[in-house]
């Protein structure tokens, strides 16, 4: 059994080399799809979360939306989107955005809501307008946590995009759901590519998150690990 498994892994390495053009093309498609979905999710989630956090309103909705997002199975969202929107890019982007917004929105809300009230008070005392308070105090202090949400969503979207191939999204999932054409070797090779992509997105955004953290916050943030990451 172990020998047979090793054989498959060896063959999948061959597949990686022989079909590298196909894999590169599908990987690029996967990245494109994920970036579009992530950009839309950020455009929806960040302003909404920041606004609610700034006003300290809607905590129930903002906090629970992440829980709701977690309870929604990816396959169900894709399948229901498919029944309503049909096959293709729009449906897939819709599903990815539905699943990508919750972690971004919740983190953005919590990040701004939990900014030290004394700091906000002090800024107001200095005569800053609400917009200035938001831009110069709340946002910089909220940035690390806000970015953690984007990181979570990015990993989540890369993973979900894999399953989205079933509804015509393209990307590496095209290979992963098509055993008849690519056999086990192809599936394993594509699985390796998508795993590396997810790990790279996580590590890369983690690095960016650290770079964006204001120096004064570094000490505090290093001990904080958000555990609202959903799994796909």
């Amino acid at each position: 059994m172990i020998l047979a498994a090793l054989d498959v892994f060896a063959n999948s390495l061959d597949f990686l080399v022989d079909r590298r053009e196909l894999l590169l093309e599908k990987t690029w498609e996967h990245i494109e799809l994920s970036l579009v979905a992530l950009a839309i999710s950020i455009l929806i989630g960040v302003p909404l979360g920041v606004a609610l956090g700034h006003l300290h309103r809607g905590s129930f909705l903002a906090v629970n939306i992440a829980n709701i997002g977690r309870a929604l199975p990816t396959l169900v969202v894709i399948a229901v989107g498919f029944t309503v929107l049909g096959i293709g890019f729009t449906n897939v982007i819709f599903a990815l955005v539905v699943l990508g917004v919750p972690p971004i929105l919740t983190n953005a809300y919590v990040a701004v809501d939990e900014v030290d009230r004394d700091a906000v008070e002090a800024a107001r005392g200095m005569g800053m307008t609400p917009i200035q308070v938001l831009r110069r105090v709340e946002l910089p202090l909220a940035l690390p946590l806000l970015f953690a949400g984007i990181r979570t969503a990015a990993v989540f979207i890369v993973a979900t995009a894999t399953i989205a191939a079933i509804a015509g999204g393209g990307g590496l999932g095209d290979i992963l759901v098509n055993q008849a054409a690519y056999r086990v070797e192809g599936l394993v090779a594509a699985a390796l590519c998508v795993s590396v992509l997810a790990l790279a997105a996580d590590a890369g955004l983690g690095l960016l998150q650290r770079l964006l953290t204001p120096a004064g916050l570094k000490q505090q943030v290093s001990s904080f690990e958000p555990d609202v990451r959903p799994v796909v």
Binding site: L75, V80, V231
Partner: protein, 235 residues
């Protein structure tokens, strides 16, 4: 010449043959042969995965609580597993364990580890030092302290972890259908290929409903398991 055999699939209702958004009659007719078995399998998949995951993470968390060097490697490995997309992890395991339930369960167990380990360890570490001091003063051994003081006080954190693990396992188990036809993912995937809307919506609603129900049950379990917290809650 013999008559060709035409299989009798019964009469499809107007709603089903027109593939309207949702046909209650199809759900009623197919509850016993299709939906109910899938639901039961889904619950089995989830219980086995969370059960094994809980035992492994509890062991690792207890080890890491006493020996600090255990924490980093276990947290790192479970974080890497957590980041790998489920469909990819399933396919990476297929050459080793085949298109079987084992493949699915190994992956599902893998996804529960990070959350359960982190929450359990955080719960154990959050026990106030003066409580441990009092336990020692009462003459409790290290083992007794663990069982009677530390673990009970960690219950809320552990259950918080279980809630996340159970809900996400229920969601993830739908993807298992790509490997082996078990659980609610089976009908969803089958219906997706046939573009049959009622089955997608019915099975999808069952999966979401199951996750919500499990979450509510775990909250109730936590209230029962930590009666001392009730007075604090009401205060």
């Amino acid at each position: 010449m013999a008559q060709p055999v035409i299989p009798d699939f019964g009469e499809a209702s107007e709603c089903v043959s027109e593939n309207r958004l949702f046909c209650p009659d199809w759900v009623r007719d197919n509850w016993d042969p299709v939906l109910q078995p899938a639901l039961v399998q889904h619950i089995q998949l989830t219980l086995i995965a969370v059960g094994f995951g809980f035992v492994i993470s509890l062991g690792a968390a207890l080890a890491a609580h006493r020996l600090r060097f255990v924490e980093r490697p276990f947290a790192w490995v479970s974080a890497v597993i957590y980041t790998i997309p489920s469909l990819a992890l399933f396919q990476l395991l297929v050459p080793i364990t085949g298109l079987t339930v084992t493949t699915v369960e190994i992956a599902l167990v893998g996804y529960t580890l990070l959350i359960l380990f982190r929450n359990t360890l955080a719960g154990l570490r959050a026990v106030p030092p003066e409580v441990l001091e009092a336990a020692r003063g009462m003459g409790l051994t290290a083992g007794q302290t663990l069982w009677r003081v530390e673990l009970p006080l960690a219950v809320p954190a552990i259950i918080a972890g279980l809630r996340i693990a159970v809900v996400s396992t229920i969601a993830l188990a739908t993807v298992a259908a790509f490997v082996v036809s078990r659980g609610l993912g089976g009908p969803i995937l089958g219906a997706l290929r046939l573009d049959f809307r009622t089955e997608i919506i019915a099975a999808g609603a069952l999966a979401v409903g199951l996750a919500v129900l499990a979450d509510v049950l775990l909250v109730l379990m936590q209230r029962l398991a930590t009666p001392w917290a009730a007075s604090r809650r009401s205060a």
